[in-house]
Symmetry: C2
């Protein structure tokens, strides 16, 4: 019997993993990887850090070479080779050697499309000018690095992970960086009020951040610098422009072959990463994936999922084409991300509130908290700002966002694990996690998130949201979506139906407080209950929510209708942004 | 109706948490905490770091004061007050004011015993000599600190968490420290081969570690220094001796009251922390707890579980004595621990192999791995040494031990979360965790642990254990328990039934290898298959297990009987210890 031929288009992340895994499962088949670029299996996540000289040697970015694939995995790698078309009927592809220009036809028993994604370019003039860059490949990074000594000012378009990592690394190389973001906050994976921390942090570290701002044109000045015009009417003169407004699946081949695509433009695959052609699989940035929380298709172009998909596609290919082995379906993506920016870690898992608002069937609740990464009595404690979303009906955790200098990825990884396992806020209460003074607290931030949410669900701890406050007054404004405007109204209105009681100390209150809030420090609350009206609901606020929780319990038991403004003044500060 | 009276004996950790939680659930009852010492709610986990001047100010150790309990929680705190006896029939306790000597009787509707634990003292002479200390309270730490300038050499008896933390902190204060441990490895929560890393690390950092060593007597020398005699026949002259060989539940009161105890000497409680007297609850170090993995009673005197228990006992007391609220049972302890020693983090969750060996019904398997905390191409990657134990029948994770400089608590917390949720090694394969170059890898250490174990369970990746190797040769030795001896035998025996194939490079092999191993570098393995015999099973070894995995796959498919020596030369080095 002839050896099975497995061809893989694209040799980074998903494709490379897929090839190696197929070989481990089967020694007999022939495996060939075709890579349009000159490198396979390179560390694309490391490129911004190569620009910033955090990673100094270019060769470190080469995780595996064609020679390693050949010697270790008996996989042939054809770099600088573009796959031009797929002939599904004859199970063959037409490939072109980009160096010689020669074309040839290669037969396959199974084909894997790991063609990845490409940059989205804005629809503006001047993108072809020298000094306008994207950062997707080693040659891209080499080109940027070669010009760095002449780049003193740069615009980065797009404040997603890559854009901000690039901005930080350019800043490290003494470039004055302005980041333009078309939406109202940085990092689209975060909700707006959580992104406010990031913006603050980036500004403190010297980046210029322009939100709600789009470039409208790039022109070359007489001195060869670039003028970036913005929709605000302003313009900036810079030496370089980095385009990082997003990526889209590289689907030319799939379209030519008539493979089914999803509504987001990615290849549609089943739970085994198989396309609608039973001889073709697809993995990585080029496919649409199902979100495990919403069960909706989406794009999620990150390296971790690409690798997992490559591994699972390999297993399915061997199972269906070569010999029987157990199947392993892909469970979908969960939305776990992490990013480090000037010492701040920003991480997410599950879905954010923006996303949940698109699914009216999901009744969610949220908590904000600001615990320390470890007990306060051990030196060096740093706050972690957490927002957690959970299902109001059963307490299932739906998503979390966290930011801080230390211990952030750890807490998000724990929450990611609970989400994967269908865990609830009640499970978080009970979690037995690492505790020693320098590592956490007897009530870990994860425990606390669970306790606050579970107390809320049990009715012991009603939570107020800034939006709730606004919603009770929708009659006074025509723009129901404008939370900021409503808030401003509420806070200026001494006759609003809620009385805000600030239970911090007098000194804390005097430093800053919500307009028209009344100050009754927690420790005197029991003695001053007669100052409060039973007529109006009470929203209690403190620094981060903990003293207000105690106050809520006291007031609730004395017959007041009361809610804790979740996250306290820390969260208020974000809503003010 | 008279107010319910809830009395709490012991005001640290569990007792303090219990009181605060009862108050949050009910404003009406009377709550009194009786504390024998002078402080409530102090940070006992911080005491070693107070000795080491990591925590400089003593007041930082006072997490909450009696005044705070009074003002915030309306809880009366009686410090320096010992509860002498319990009269269960009359629901009262007899208390003694230790300052005035006055005794009084206090009635209770509910009583909480949070009496904690006390040091186990060795059965040797000289314990009453000046210079012999335990570290359990703030006064203990004050006493040690006051004498530090005269302490140049010290013996710490006991290499558990507290003993080693204390040893590190004494070393920080320029004390020359010798640690005596009666068993064959430090940190009883670890298995021996994992503890070998810790011993090495402590020695490298200047501690003198004596294993299998017990003190037999302490005598005072003419110069007032102490002479510690050991069962080895040696003796040490030191200025201080710290006793840290363990703790035992402080059950005098429970015994006097005739409450049921368990076989380990702790108070027996049900899942609501209620004793066999329906008016008495007990929490913290004084109770026995059920292990969630083995379902056996054990002692687990740590602060995290004590706090959780205090919270749950409070809920149950209010539910049963005051008003209906939802019940929350305690799920038991899981064994999560963490300890930092000279920059090394050592963490565990679930059970260790020593424990599993006592449960022949549990068929377990284990994997060793040594991944980096983040991708190697990003600077500063550090290894994490992991041992994971899982159920051979269904892949359920049973326990894990990990050590390293960075990212250790994070991985153990993730594994703890999966254990809590009944997760399997297959779930670990699929976990979507935080990845960016400075935070992890597309295959996180947790994913890798799952993949290695799942591949093993699927039959793709048979693992060998050093003990397996020995077990196949039990006929040659009388002492079946002496793995070291068997190993030595096997390794010296060119005719043993397994051939050891080392697939590292020639240079690596030449630096160090297992006696009688054959070197066939992985990348030439396919060309050199004819050098191997089909007669004898092959055990493949490499640096950490990854290349050997690839070799195992190649050999298995070519018809060889083959196993990967789990953890490679890294783990071999531990077994050599």
């Amino acid at each position: 019997m002839a050896k099975k031929r497995i061809l893989i288009v694209g040799g980074v992340a998903g494709g490379a993993t897929c090839g190696a895994r197929i070989r481990r499962l089967n020694e007999d088949c022939e495996i060939v990887i075709f890579e349009m670029g000159s490198y396979v299996s390179f560390a694309n996540c490391g490129l911004p850090y190569f620009i910033g000289d955090v990673i100094v040697e270019e060769e470190k970015l080469l995780v595996a070479t064609p020679a390693l694939f050949e010697n270790r995995f008996n996989i042939r790698v054809c770099t600088d080779t573009q796959v031009m078309s797929i002939d599904r009927e004859n199970q063959s592809i037409s490939v072109c050697d980009l160096k010689s220009g020669e074309q040839r036809v290669e037969h396959y028993d199974a084909l894997v499309l790991s063609t990845g994604s490409q940059s989205v370019w804005p629809d503006i003039q001047g993108l072809d000018l020298p000094g306008v860059h994207v950062l997707r490949t080693i040659p891209d990074s080499r080109q940027i690095k070669a010009q760095l000594e002449n780049i003193h000012r740069a615009v980065v378009m797009g404040a997603g992970y890559l854009g901000l990592e690039l901005a930080e690394n350019l800043h490290k190389r003494d470039v004055q960086v302005t980041v333009l973001q078309s939406s109202d906050h940085v990092m689209p994976s975060l909700d707006k009020e959580m992104a406010a921390y990031v913006t603050n942090h980036l500004q403190k570290n010297g980046l210029n951040i322009k939100l709600n701002c789009k470039a409208t044109a790039i022109k070359q000045n007489a001195d060869h610098s670039l003028q970036v015009s913005m929709d605000s009417g302003e313009s900036l003169n810079v030496d370089a422009v980095m385009i990082s407004i997003g990526v889209k699946p590289r689907t030319e081949l799939a379209i030519q072959a008539g493979l089914e695509l999803g509504k987001h433009g990615g290849i549609r695959v089943n739970e085994y990463l198989q396309t609608n052609d039973p001889n073709i699989w697809a993995v990585g940035d080029v496919v649409e994936v199902k979100n495990v929380i919403t069960n909706e298709w989406q794009l999620f172009p990150l390296a971790g999922p690409a690798n997992k998909q490559g591994r699972l596609a390999a297993t399915d290919i061997v199972r269906k084409k070569i010999h029987t082995i157990p199947s392993i379906p892909y469970r979908g993506v969960q939305g776990t991300t992490v990013c480090g920016l000037f010492g701040l870690t920003v991480a997410t898992t599950g879905v954010n509130e923006k996303t949940l608002q698109q699914f009216p069937d999901i009744e969610y609740e949220k908590v904000y908290l600001h615990p320390s990464n470890h007990v306060g009595y051990y030196p060096g404690a740093k706050p972690i700002h957490i927002k957690m979303l959970y299902d109001a009906r059963n307490g299932k955790i739906l998503g979390a966002q966290a930011l801080g200098e230390s211990g952030v990825a750890r807490r998000i990884d724990v929450l990611a694990s609970f989400i994967q396992m269908g865990g609830t806020v009640y499970d978080l209460e009970e979690a037995e996690l690492c505790y020693a003074p320098q590592f956490g607290a007897t009530k870990d931030p994860v425990n606390l998130a669970g306790m606050i949410a579970a107390n809320h669900l049990r009715g012991n701890h009603p939570l107020a949201k800034w939006e709730d406050l606004a919603d009770t007054h929708t009659q006074v404004t025509d723009d129901q979506d404008d939370v900021d405007q409503m808030l401003a109204f509420i806070m200026d209105d001494p006759y609003s139906q809620a009385q805000i009681v600030d239970v911090r100390t007098i000194a804390e209150f005097e430093r800053k407080h919500i307009p028209h809030a009344v100050n009754i420090p927690l420790d005197s609350l029991r003695d001053r209950l007669d100052e409060l009206s039973q007529e109006r609901e009470i929203w209690v606020v403190c620094g981060v929510g903990q003293r207000a929780y105690n106050a809520t319990r006291i007031l609730q038991q004395h017959g007041f209708r009361v809610r804790n403004l979740s996250g306290g003044m820390q969260t208020y500060a974000n809503y003010e942004e």
